[in-house]
Amino acid sequence: MRAHLALILAALLLAPAGAALAQDEPLRIEITEGTMAPMPIALRIEAEGEAVALAAEITGVIEADLTGTGLFTLAEIRDLPDTRFDRAVDYVGWKATDTEALVTGSVSAEGDKIVVRFRLFDIFAGQPLGDGMQLDAPRAGWRRAAHKIADQIYARITGEAPYFDSRIAFIGESGPATARIKRVGVMDADGADVKWLTAGGELALSPRFSPDGRTVLYTSFASGMPQIMAMDVESVRALPLTSDPRAMSFAPRYSPDGQWIAFSRETAGNTDIWIMQVGNPRFSKPLTQGPSIDTAPSWSPDGRQIVFESDRSGNSQLYIMRADGSDPVRISFGEGGGYGEPAWSPRGDRIAFTRHGRQGSAIGIMRPDGSDERLLTEGPGDAGPSWAPNGRVLIFTRQPDEEGSAQLHSVDITGRNMRPVALNDAASDPAWGPLLP
């Protein structure tokens, strides 16, 4: 699993040439719509011999990805039209069912290699939606092949960028609250294939993926003092990026180009935001200076600005400054309680945050100018939002109460489809990584 997952995505012109242009509106889900019935979809993925079980597993992963968005539902079909991957689709027969989108596919396996092919059809319009595709993958990479197909279906129907084939770094929690064991883990976006990167002997906090997904930064107490570590995900080797014993360094975040790391550095009780060069961690400089606590930086996707949490006005609020530290501007002004842990959407259009008040904490979003603030969750123990690579879904920590165990939940940008992430371990501090190549 650790080995390179060479997933070859080959677009074959499997679609019949000269397919009739339909007059109907193309199949489409607008995610920003208020309420919407999920779209019925049917999957017919065929296989022979030993590949039959694999085809069923792949079908299961694609179905779980799609229905997990709340945008799709599996069509209930009484009289299944005869459907084969290499034959024309019986649109008339399928129209008689409630199916709106049909996926046909085939899975074959030979030795360590599998080949998965699929086509997507718009039943109402009576035409294929995009090209047919073939994915060649090692057998161990079957889940990724399934996520890639689900991504294609999602992207073609919603018009949004895909996100299923990605990973999430998080902190696994165990033991009593007064002596919590915390270790860094990574998992697939659907909660499968958990891999632990640290052993739990030392406290580890707030992991973040590099833009290429190969490195996870986190804050480690291994030296007795919080310091920033860079973990190579494949080799599971960690390298300290900071080591000054008189300064705590924490809250590391990569710039979008992967060249810089913004982080918090504390000396003599005062915490400021600094940046260091990834290629030369010894070169670092402060972006903020002053007696306030400045922490939790998050870069804009163009790398020009940084949003961060500061108590310079008395309690925690959100501020945006240029990436050189100039022109800080406050953007959060809600009455009662503070704002923290800002996360700039990879699309640039929203900033997610944790909002604190008397009733606990909840997850919200606002535009980068501070307008259009909306709470997406009700709390009372929601914190630490992180964006899916397409900027349409957030993952966050839900702490039911101090004695309950923390769980990861996801919600989409409209506030709908709140659901727990399928993960057997108590977990916090999720950080969504990039879409995998």
Binding site: A177, T178, R180, L205, M248, S264, E266
Partner: protein, 186 residues
């Protein structure tokens, strides 16, 4: 406060002894649970009959500086989102400073902590602010700066597990001083 109460109780006990109907008292050695610090003030070391409380000259005192220090009061508490020291905290820290001045071979690590409200990283910074407040006070009271280190655990190591009761959360907003004998030559 506890000191005053103890005195009142002692006065009452003495008054009781003078009552004519009192049964004869078997004499017992008197142990003084107070020691005198460098500033000439009495320092209460706790009930000598309880483990962890030591009298001066007790050989165990030299081998367990941490237990001895705990009797001085190793923890101070803070208001919400604050790192300023209360009068109570200053009294405790004055005793800590006196102990550290007296025990010149000891070094201290001040651990700052925060309660559950607030973000993880903000609380890490807040804990550092609290630990530094304590360190600065100890230094002002005569402890060499080089003997005191600080670290913050933010909200990662609560003393009490709280739902949201204010009194419980208050126990987690704290700075704990831990002492150890420094190694020779360091």
């Amino acid at each position: 406060m506890r000191l005053k109460l103890a005195l009142v109780a002692a006065v009452l006990a003495l008054a009781a002894c003078n009552m004519p109907a009192d049964p004869p008292v078997v004499s017992a050695p008197v142990t003084d649970p107070y020691v005198t610090d460098a500033g000439g003030n009495a320092v209460y070391l706790g009930d000598v009959n309880k483990p962890g409380s030591r009298l001066p000259g007790d050989p165990a005192a030299d081998t367990a500086p941490d237990a001895q220090f705990a009797a001085v009061g190793n923890t101070v508490y803070f208001a919400e989102n604050e790192a300023t020291l209360s009068d109570d905290a200053r009294q405790t820290l004055t005793r800590q400073a006196a102990w550290l001045v007296q025990n010149a071979g000891a070094t201290a690590m001040v651990e700052g902590h925060a309660d559950e409200p607030g973000t993880r990283e903000f609380n890490l910074a807040l804990g550092a602010r609290r630990a530094t407040s304590v360190r600065e006070y100890l230094v002002a009271k005569g402890v060499e700066a080089g003997r005191i280190q600080t670290v913050s655990f933010g909200k990662e190591r609560p003393a009490s597990i709280c739902a949201s009761e204010a009194s419980c959360l208050a126990r987690n907003r704290r700075a704990v001083t831990a002492v150890s004998q420094s190694q020779a030559g360091v």
